[in-house]
C-alpha cells in the first residue's frame, strides 16, 4: 500500500514545492548599549570583572592605603592559594560535583612533601614529585568513588575531607617543620615563595603560577574536546552518556586533576608560609573559600555553566573585600560581618547586571 501512503501525505505536501530556502534574517540592533548587552551575554566572566572594578574603585576611595602597589600585590599573593584551589574546584563544579576535600588534599600534600624530605632524607625535588603524585591519587580516589560507585560527590568528599585531614595530623604527628630548616636544607620546597621585584613591588612566583593555571584551564575547557566533555557531563549526565561522552572517565580525570591542582597548592603553601604545618587553616576553610570564589565568579553549582576566568575574578573580589575592609575597619568581628554582607551584595550586583543585559 505504499502508493496509498504516498498519496496521503502527497495530498498536502504538494504545497511544499517552491518553499523558500533562505535563512531568516532579522535586522540587528547595533546601538552601543545593545552591543554591550550582547557582549556581557556572550562573556560570562565579564560580569564578575565589572563587580571587581566597582569594588576596587569603592575601596580606593574608602581606604587611603588601598591603592598602593604593595597593597595590591599583597592581595594577589593572598589569593594565590585560593585561586589554585579554585581551579580544582571549578572543574569539579562544572561537572555538577563539589569537592570539599580540596583544602585537606593541599595541606596533606604539603605535609607529605615536607615530611618525606625531612623524615626520610629524600631529595626535596623527588619529595615534591611524590607529593604531587599522591595528591593526584587522593583526587583520583574521590573520582573513582563518585564515578564508579555513583556516590554523591558531596558526601564522598565530605568523607575524604575528614579522612585526609585526620591522616594529615596522624602522619605528621602534629609537628611543624620550621621555616629556617626548610630554607637551609630544602629550598626547592619554597620555590613559589620567591618573588620578582620590578620597581620595588614584590610579586610572588606563586601569583604567576596561579594566573598561568587559570589561563591554561580556560584554554583547555574552551578549546579542547575534553573541556567540552567536562561541560556536557555537568550539563546533563544522562544526555552526555547517550551522546557518547565517557562520563565516568571524564569524572575520574576531573577529580584526579583537581587533586593535582590541590597538591600544587600545597607546594605553593610551603613557599608562601615558609614552614610546613599540618594545622594550616586551608585544611578547614579551603573548600568554602574556593567554592565562594567559584560561585561569585558565576559558575553554576548545578554544573555545565560558567567560566574559570570568572572564578579568578571571584577570588579577587573576595581578596579585595577582605583587604579593603581590614584597611577601613578595625574590629575583626565587624570585618567578618561586612564580608558576609559584601559577598551577598557582589552576587546580587552580578545577577542584576545579567538580568539587565539579558
Amino acid at each position: 500500500m505504499t502508493n496509498d501512503a504516498k498519496s496521503v501525505s502527497g495530498s498536502y505536501e504538494a504545497g511544499l514545492k517552491g518553499a523558500t530556502e533562505t535563512v531568516a534574517e532579522f535586522h540587528e540592533d547595533t546601538g552601543a548599549l545593545k552591543r554591550l548587552q550582547h557582549w556581557l551575554h556572550q562573556t560570562p566572566s565579564a560580569v564578575p570583572l565589572i563587580v571587581l572594578l566597582i569594588s576596587l574603585v569603592i575601596f580606593g576611595f574608602a581606604a587611603e592605603n588601598f591603592f598602593k602597589a604593595g597593597t595590591l600585590s599583597t592581595i594577589l599573593q593572598q589569593i594565590a592559594i585560593v585561586g589554585i584551589l579554585g581551579c580544582a574546584q571549578s572543574i569539579v563544579i562544572l561537572t555538577a560535583g563539589i569537592d570539599l576535600s580540596v583544602g585537606a588534599i593541599a595541606v596533606f600534600s604539603s605535609v607529605l612533601m615536607g615530611q618525606i624530605t625531612f623524615r626520610y632524607g629524600v631529595p626535596a625535588e623527588l619529595a615534591i614529585a611524590i607529593g604531587l603524585a599522591l595528591g593526584t591519587a587522593m583526587g583520583a580516589v574521590n573520582g573513582v568513588l563518585i564515578a564508579k560507585l555513583r556516590l554523591p560527590p558531596f558526601i564522598v568528599t565530605l568523607g575524604t575531607w575528614q579522612i585526609l585531614l585526620a591522616a594529615n595530623f596522624i602522619y605528621s604527628r602534629n609537628e611543624t617543620i620550621r621555616s629556617a630548616d626548610i630554607s637551609e636544607q630544602a629550598p626547592a620546597l619554597r620555590f613559589w615563595g620567591q618573588a620578582i621585584e620590578p620597581g620595588g613591588i614584590k610579586v610572588l612566583y606563586a601569583v604567576f603560577l596561579m594566573i598561568a593555571l587559570v589561563a591554561i584551564m580556560a584554554y583547555v575547557l574552551r578549546h579542547t574536546a575534553w573541556g567540552r566533555h567536562v561541560y556536557a557531563t555537568g550539563d546533563d549526565p544522562q544526555a552526555a552518556e547517550l551522546a557518547g561522552v565517557p562520563t565516568q572517565k571524564v569524572l575520574i580525570q576531573v577529580y584526579a586533576l583537581a587533586g593535582l591542582f590541590c597538591a600544587i597548592a600545597g607546594w605553593v603553601m610551603i613557599g608562601r608560609f615558609g614552614s610546613v604545618s599540618p594545622t594550616a587553616s586551608t585544611g578547614q576553610l579551603g573548600n568554602i573559600q574556593s567554592i565562594t570564589a567559584v560561585v561569585i565568579g558565576g559558575i553554576s553549582l548545578f554544573g555545565g555553566r560558567g567560566s574559570i576566568v570568572g572564578m579568578f575574578f571571584g577570588a579577587l573580589i573576595v581578596g579585595v573585600f577582605e583587604m579593603g575592609l581590614r584597611l577601613v575597619g578595625t574590629d575583626p568581628q565587624w570585618t567578618f560581618f561586612l564580608i558576609g554582607v559584601l559577598i551577598i551584595f557582589a552576587v546580587a550586583v552580578d545577577q542584576w547586571i545579567r538580568k539587565v543585559s539579558g
Binding site: R178, F273, S281
Partner: protein
Amino acid sequence: ESHGVAACLITKTDTNPFFVKMKEGAEAKAAELGVTLKSYAGKIDGDHESQVAAIEACVADGAKGILITASDTKAIVDSVAAARAAGVLVIALDTPLDPIDAADATFATDNFQAGLLIGQWAAASMGAEAANAKIAMLDLAISQPSVDVLRDQGFLTGFGIDTVDINKWGDETDPRIVGNEVTAGNEEGGLKAMEALLAKDPDINVVYTINEPSAAGAFEALKAAGKEGVLIVSVDGGCPGVADVKDGVIGATSQQYPLLMASLGIEAIAKFAADGTKPAPTEGKAFFDTGVALITDKPVEGVESIDTTKGMELCWG
C-alpha cells in the same frame, strides 16, 4: 593498685601542639600507673558541644575520672555537674571552670599572667619608646574563647594599655594598637594577619601573638616585607617556640607546662580511684597552679625570666 581504672582526657582541640603534648603526658603517666585512658577533643576552637558529648560518653563508659580543658568555662558546667553526680572525679586542666568549684579540682596555668609577663617584658625592652609603639595584635578566633581574651588582655595590661572591658579584646581605643586580626593559631593565619596589618601600617614595631605557630607566620610576613628588628612576643613555650626565641624570631615567650598538668591529673584520678581522696589546691589560690615562666635571651630589669637553654630543658614538644 589502679588496674581497671578508666579515665578520660578531653582537650579543646587535638591539633594544637599544646594539647597534643598534654595528651602525650597523660598517656605516659597512665601507662605508668596502669590507668586506661581515652582521649577526646573539640573539633574547633571554642567547641564545647563536642566536649559535652565526650563527657556524656565517658559517663556512659563508666570512667572514674575526667580531665578537661574547657572550651567554654561556663557552658559545660552543667554536664560536669551531671558527671560528678554520677560519681566521676572531674579535674579542670589549663583553664579553671566558672565557677571554679564546678570541678573537683583545677590544675591550671594562669593565662592572664602569661600575657602579663610578655607585656611587661615588651614594655621594658622598649623603654621610653613604648609610648610610641605601634602594636599588632594577632589573636585566636573571632569567637574570642577565654584563653584568647586572657592572654590578649594580660599582654595589654602588662604593656600598660587600658583594656576597657577586660572580658573582651578589640574594644581598646589606645592609638598605639594598629589593629587586631585573628589567626586560628597557626602559621598560615599568622602570616595573613600580619600582611593585612602591615598593609594598614607598615611601621608596626611590636607584635603580640596568641601562640608560637602564629608568631612564626607573622615573622615570615615581616621578613618578606623586609622589616627587621620587630619585637614579637608569644605564649606557649613549646620546643619549636623556644628554638624560635633562641634564633631571634620571637623576642620572648611565656612557657606553660601541659605535661605537668596532665600527669598530675592522672595521678589524682588514680589516687581517687584507690582511696577516694581528692586533690587540694595550691596554698592561697583556688586552684593548683602549674606555673608560668618567661623565656628570653634578652632579660630586662624587673621581669623575672629564664634563658632559652633552661627553656629548652623544660619545653614540651
